[in-house]
């Protein structure tokens, strides 16, 4: 399939930009899976099934990458040669790190006290914060074409995402 789809955006018929219409992405994903999903080929010979399976794996990988803003942003950076290494190995500004520590302390405390309400409050606040940063990212990618700044914002988002998962884990642990 690589012949016809040089990148994930093209695969789904979407413009190569950060801001995408999720409904468009979902529709294109469904249309492609309707072609390549293993269930559509269950009664067919092996060669066709293997081919379809490869297509289904690629379509799902592409979808998973574009669906989430962070992986979509990383993918966009990857396409212009700002690779994962560079993103993962850059130091963060100390102001940001201090802010992170404050978040973490609040989460740890809520977890230690089994305070579901506090965790849910934190989750809500964090979600709003993530939305703000994501809006900034869209601006940097799509309006200013400032990839260096975007890369920096992606790094921040990755920290925030880790924090979000920690809060979710904390809530999950308190579910039982």
């Amino acid at each position: 399939m690589s012949e016809i789809s040089p990148d994930y955006f093209a695969l789904f018929g979407l413009p190569r930009r950060f801001g995408i219409d999720e409904a468009d992405l979902d529709r294109a994903w469904h249309a492609l899976q309707a072609e390549v999903h293993p269930d559509r080929h269950a009664h067919l010979p092996d060669s066709e099934r293997h081919r379809a399976m490869r297509g289904a794996l690629r379509v799902n990988e592409a979808y998973a990458t574009l669906k989430r803003p962070i992986s979509r942003a990383r993918y966009l950076l990857d396409l212009v040669g700002i690779g994962t290494d560079k993103i993962d190995n850059t130091a963060m500004a100390s102001g940001f790190l201090i802010e992170q520590m404050e978040w973490r302390e609040a989460v740890e405390e809520a977890r230690a006290f089994g305070d579901v309400d506090a965790l849910e409050q934190l989750a809500l606040r964090l979600r709003m914060h993530i939305d703000e940063v994501t809006t900034l990212l869209a601006e940097q990618f799509d309006n200013r074409s400032d990839r260096e700044a975007a890369a920096d914002t992606v790094r921040r988002l990755m920290f925030l995402d880790k924090l979000r998962r920690d809060i979710d884990d904390g809530l999950a642990a308190l579910d039982d």
């Binding site: 399939m1 012949e3 016809i4 789809s5 018929g13 468009d24 979902d26 529709r27 294109a28 469904h30 249309a31 492609l32 899976q33 309707a34 072609e35 390549v36 999903h37 293993p38 269930d39 559509r40 080929h41 269950a42 009664h43 067919l44 010979p45 092996d46 060669s47 066709e48 081919r51 379809a52 399976m53 297509g55 289904a56 794996l57 799902n60 990988e61 979808y63 998973a64 979710d168 809530l171 999950a172 579910d175 039982d176």
Partner: protein, 622 residues
């Protein structure tokens, strides 16, 4: 693919060729088989007209066995050899099973999956489940008048890889061609969703005899997309029975009962539990072998109170699934109730309170899973006709897959709720000069420590070309198919050498074991294994020839004359073998040859269909 059909994918281009396909709900308490007749999914009943078959197997001391209703009487008379709820043991070790001390069986503490010692020798849960599936297969074949082309077998959505593999092995052992393992709540959603033509985000709450699943699905124009799934693979009606049983022992302070009396008490507990769904109180009256007579009254309120922790236990998975889907309870448009245990009024109340709406109970909670499975089976064998409902299932993996790393930690490779099929590749290197082998431990679960996750398998890679330490780059690919089953492949990146993989499943059966069981089963049934193998190859060859012929008719113009001739030659050779005296080996070779000859054709058809899909997508938008 549009590749092989003249019309749409998933639709038979030769509608006259109806293939016999069934859906089987292999339940903890009850099992059912269903099929699509004249476009409508129906359960296939036994001679007395009953669709539900109790999942009970009795191994008699005269070497015979009874399955289903015929085995019910033996539950008290011969508890050791009468296995109920065997599904709870599938892909499980001795240490995993709850309340094992109140079970009458003699367990063998073998490493990996537990086994039961019966009067007919040691039995794996896989073999016991196969007995149930075999009876259902025969019921279907008798009713439909022919050999089955294939079956969709349902599994709890929260089943891990080992439990799924065990289920698939049981089906193979029962002589079924498994088209697909299908998650029970997804099957229910298909039957319910298509019947009622619903759209939007729905939750399926499935509480059966032994398992609990909660799936959140988004239904849009024939696409059933699972957003998240969660559950408890050992929580069900059985546990409510057990609570009541413990309560009775507590109230009466009787001595620990015999195995026979334990069975009696448990069966009575189930009866009372079910009665309490329709009446405010029920009499727990029972004469025990020990001479003791019990006479208690259980009120609905008391029962609700003693089982409240179990009801609560179903709410945690709902919260987790909602969180994973990024949704709140109010975003759910409807809650579909599945499984016999959802008839309990306090379950319905708890679910209504949680979601702030009455759950949907306008469906048969016992049958809906089997009906959905039958519909999927019908589609998978290619029986759909133009104008029939068309749908697509996008299901997910319920539990994260991880690899053991230094310090006994699990490094997540594939996250839970990833849409299937999914694959992830990871690169490893050797740490010693000339190293030619490497080991991996794959686990499933959300916890950080490997010890807290389920061990799935240990893989050993062999045949890595000897190189200096750190020079080899071994790319290992972990792939989970639509059934939720894992497979692993590996290749050395710089030389392209394919490494061979030795799989050691932690709770599964080794491949050889299945082969042995199959052989033993056929011998017992007086079936000829060789004849069956030949028949299977002939059917497969016929299917392949038909499919290629259709593909050529539809897309022959994608090939040049030379390519067409090469395919035609491979077809003629295979046709000759089908018409010939019948040799399994050469038929298999002929099938492989034709498959290989059509590989490039398949590739072009796939590209072509994707282009068409994309074009269609754009047109739909304009």
């Amino acid at each position: 693919m549009a590749l092989l059909q003249i019309a749409e994918p998933g639709m038979s281009a030769a509608p006259h060729q109806h293939r016999l396909a069934v859906g089987i709900d292999l339940g903890t308490t009850n099992s059912l088989v269903a099929t699509v007749k004249n476009g409508i999914a129906v359960c296939l009943p036994d001679e007395e007209g009953r669709a539900l078959m109790p999942s009970v197997v009795h191994y008699r001391d005269d070497g015979g066995r009874d399955v289903g209703r015929a085995a019910l009487g033996a539950r008290v008379a011969d508890p050791r050899n009468t296995i109920v709820s065997v599904k709870r043991f599938m892909g499980r070790g001795f240490a995993d099973v709850a309340h094992i001390e109140t079970m009458p069986y003699i367990f063998e503490e073998t490493p990996g999956m537990l086994r039961l010692r019966t009067v007919q020798g040691s039995k794996s849960p896989v073999e016991i489940s196969a007995e149930i599936l075999r009876v259902l297969r025969r019921r279907a074949e008798a009713s439909l008048g022919g050999e089955l082309a294939g079956a969709v077998i349902t599994v709890p959505a929260y089943f891990d890889d080992a439990q799924r593999q065990a289920t698939k092995d049981a089906a193979r052992l029962a002589g079924l061609h498994v088209l697909r393992l299908l998650n029970e709540p997804t099957a229910a959603a298909v039957a319910y969703g298509l019947d009622n033509a619903v759209e939007g985000v729905y939750a399926v709450y499935d509480l059966g005899g032994g398992t609990f699943d909660l799936s959140i699905l988004k239904l849009t124009r024939g696409v059933f997309e699972v957003l998240a799934t969660n559950g408890d693979a050992s929580l069900g009606g059985d546990d409510f029975d057990h609570r009541l049983y413990c309560w009775v022992l507590d109230q009466t302070r009787i001595d620990p009962p015999s195995v026979e009396d334990t069975r009696r008490l448990q069966m009575k507990a189930r009866e009372i539990k079910e009665l309490l769904s329709v009446s405010e109180e029920a009499p727990f009256r029972l004469r025990l072998d020990s001479g003791l007579s019990l006479d208690l009254t259980v009120s609905r309120a008391a029962f609700a109170e003693m089982t409240r922790p179990l009801v609560q236990k179903t709410l945690a998975p709902i919260r987790r699934a909602l969180r994973d889907a990024g949704l709140a309870a109010r975003d759910i448009k409807g809650v579909v109730m599945v499984g016999g245990a959802t008839r309990m009024p306090h379950i319905q109340r708890a679910v209504a309170a949680f979601f702030g709406q009455e759950p949907l109970t306008n469906l048969d909670p016992d049958k809906v899973v089997a009906l959905g499975a039958a519909m999927q089976a019908n589609a998978l064998v290619g029986n759909r006709k133009p104008g029939d409902d068309d749908w697509l299932l996008l299901d997910v993996i319920p539990l994260s897959l991880g690899l053991e790393t230094m310090g006994g930690l699990s490094e997540k490779l594939i996250p839970r709720n990833a849409t299937l099929p999914v694959a992830r590749a990871q690169e490893f290197t050797t740490y010693k000069d000339g190293q030619t082998a490497m080991a991996f431990h794959v686990v499933q679960g959300e916890r950080e420590l490997v010890a807290d996750c389920r061990s799935l398998a240990r893989f050993e890679l062999r045949g890595i070309p000897p190189m200096a330490a750190g020079a080899a780059r071994i790319r290992v690919t972990f792939q989970v198919d639509a059934d939720g089953l894992l497979s692993v492949s590996a290749r050395e990146a710089s030389t392209g050498v394919e490494a061979s993989i030795l799989v050691n499943p932690s709770y599964g059966l080794a491949d050889g074991e299945i082969a042995d069981m199959l052989r033993a089963g056929f011998e017992r049934a007086g079936d000829d294994l060789a004849a069956r193998a030949l028949r299977e190859q002939q059917v497969e060859a016929g299917r392949l020839l038909e499919a290629v012929a259709q593909a050529l008719a539809a897309d022959g113009d994608l090939l040049d004359a030379g390519e067409r001739a090469a395919i035609a030659a491979a077809m003629a050779r295979l046709q000759g073998l089908v018409d010939g005296p019948g040799d399994t080996r050469s038929l298999a070779d002929g099938i492989t040859a034709l498959n290989r000859a059509t590989e490039e054709f398949a590739a072009r058809r796939m590209d072509h269909s994707i282009r068409t899909a994309l074009a269609g997508h754009k047109i739909a938008e304009l």
